[in-house]
């Protein structure tokens, strides 16, 4: 893990939607960031004011430039602090951590459906790039609350069909991602998803037993499996069986763990 811990330098910080920022960082640990769906555990504050690290997904990587992109919503105290980091500042980052989306599960020629909700959209971008690179057809369904929350629509469109939904109908289709899947009758060989738990629950019911993978969120302490903050129960396991989202996840096959 020594090669997954260190300082990264801020290359750019760009607001990409209301309260949402794209942060590009550069440094040697980026060399390890090959798997989409993994996350970084970010120290947002060098003092003890905000003590805990924040888990943020890898949204994109440029291995040649040793640059990684995160997209995050500045909602609470820590992400708001993160939004103040300017070009040139250095940021203490642990990662890549966890098990990402299994790119292997999609074969060249397969259709992969990527379903993202809000701030669950970012990790799907790096995934889409890798899938397209190996000849998988990517269709993306991206759900946001409102027009002002949308980011990366064009970026995804360069990689395949994109269906955007907004809860208030201010852009794209009005409704939820599942409405778009139904409406457009989107069929696929494999599903990858990240987003709010209610969305993942619906997808779990629909895709149970299929090739389908979801990425979960939970509040974390250590981020590396030592503190047991982030566990979830195993579906149909013994009462004490569990998975750690930080090390066994955040991506799990649909149906493996209890949502």
């Amino acid at each position: 893990m020594r090669d997954r811990y260190g300082k990264l330098t801020v290359v750019s910080q760009t607001q990409v939607a209301k309260d949402s920022y794209e942060l590009v960082l550069e440094g040697s640990t980026v060399g390890q960031m090959k798997e989409p769906g993994q996350f970084l555990h970010v120290r947002v504050d060098e003092t003890e004011d905000l003590l805990l690290r924040r888990p943020i997904s890898i949204a994109n990587v440029d291995l040649a430039k040793q640059q990684v992109t995160m997209i995050y919503r500045a909602g609470g105290a820590g992400t708001k602090r993160l939004a103040t980091y300017e070009t040139g500042k250095s940021l203490n980052v642990m990662g890549p951590l966890g098990q990402g989306f299994p790119v292997d599960e999609a074969n060249a020629g397969d259709v992969a459906l990527l379903v993202g909700g809000g701030i669950g959209v970012p990790p799907l971008y790096y995934l889409a790039k890798q899938l397209v690179a190996k000849g998988v057809t990517v269709k993306s369904v991206l759900g946001f609350a409102s027009k002002q929350d949308i980011f990366y629509e064009e970026a995804f469109r360069e990689l395949g069909d994109v269906y955007v939904t907004t809860v208030d109908g201010s852009h794209g289709m009005k409704g939820f991602v599942t409405n778009a899947i139904d409406d457009k009758q989107l069929v696929s060989d494999v599903l990858y998803s990240c987003g709010p738990t209610p969305m993942l629950k619906v997808l779990t019911e629909r895709y149970r037993g299929k090739r389908a993978f979801i990425s979960l969120e939970e509040r974390m302490g250590c981020g590396i499996g030592a503190c047991f903050a982030c566990v979830c129960a195993v579906e149909k396991g013994e009462a004490y069986e569990y998975r750690k989202i930080c090390t066994d996840g955040p991506v799990f096959p649909v149906g493996e763990v209890v949502l």
């Binding site: 811990y5 004011d49 003590l51 250590c222 590396i224 503190c227 047991f228 903050a229 566990v231 004490y240």
Partner: protein
Amino acid sequence: MDRLRVDLPGLKMKNPVMPASGCFGFGKEYAQFFNLNELGAIAIKATTPEPRFGNPTPRVAETKAGMLNAIGLQNPGLAGVIEKELPRFNDYDVPILANIAGSTMTDYIEVAARLSTEKNVHALELNISCPNVKQGGIAFGTVPETAAELTREVKAVSQVPVYVKLSPNVSDIVAMAKAVEHAGADGLSMINTLLGMRIDVKTRQPILANTYGGLSGPAIKPVALRMIHQVSQQVDIPIIGMGGIQSAQDVIEFLLAGASCVAVGTANFVDPYTCPTIIDELPQWLDELEMNTVTEIIGGSWKRCKTHSLSH
């Protein structure tokens, strides 16, 4: 590096720094970052007789200069710890302090009797103070007589020295400490977490699924120092000091207060290299303080004259 050595019952420590129980799992995660042999000792996660799932999530919340946790003693159970976790330490030369917990006195006795016979267990740490376990724990931790009885029972079955980990959520920490010392405890660990809570103003509900959780981190350091200062002047057994330690300077403060060694908890999450960094920096601090050895510092804030060895 003999300047850093501290010899405590069951724990022959190369240096006075160990990770705190529950904040270091059973060691393997942090072994990815550094060689565990660098540590003075390791306090492993609480073991209960049976495997436990623990509390529902969210289990952690952030507070100013601190965090709350309500893990709920999740662990693989006695058999699991013995079969899967302890053998990993075969490859290391570092004393292990095994934290034990339970809901009843029988639980503690069962775990103590069995775990203390394991070659990779050098001392036990009785967690009588976990604020997150609804039944059991808390009562042991706040009533001196009950804590003493538990200590006595565990001492009777344990093959290794026994440290009792005190809860700070009490009116009279000195009374608790004296009671367990009198009952035969070989040492004290203090402090466990303060009971606290946070409320999410949006949902209007407690952030932790368990409602309350244990407050740890720099926020509690002044309370830990005060309790160690009070207790160390009143007992003759060594104290493993903890609560908000982040730096070598913090370690010195704890030793001066009267701790004989320290444990680092929450800080591991902030920086996985906290323990080795502190250990590296300690000799420099000894130089600055014009002290030869760590043991000279112990209790320095209240001892009249320098002591050259640890009498207890």
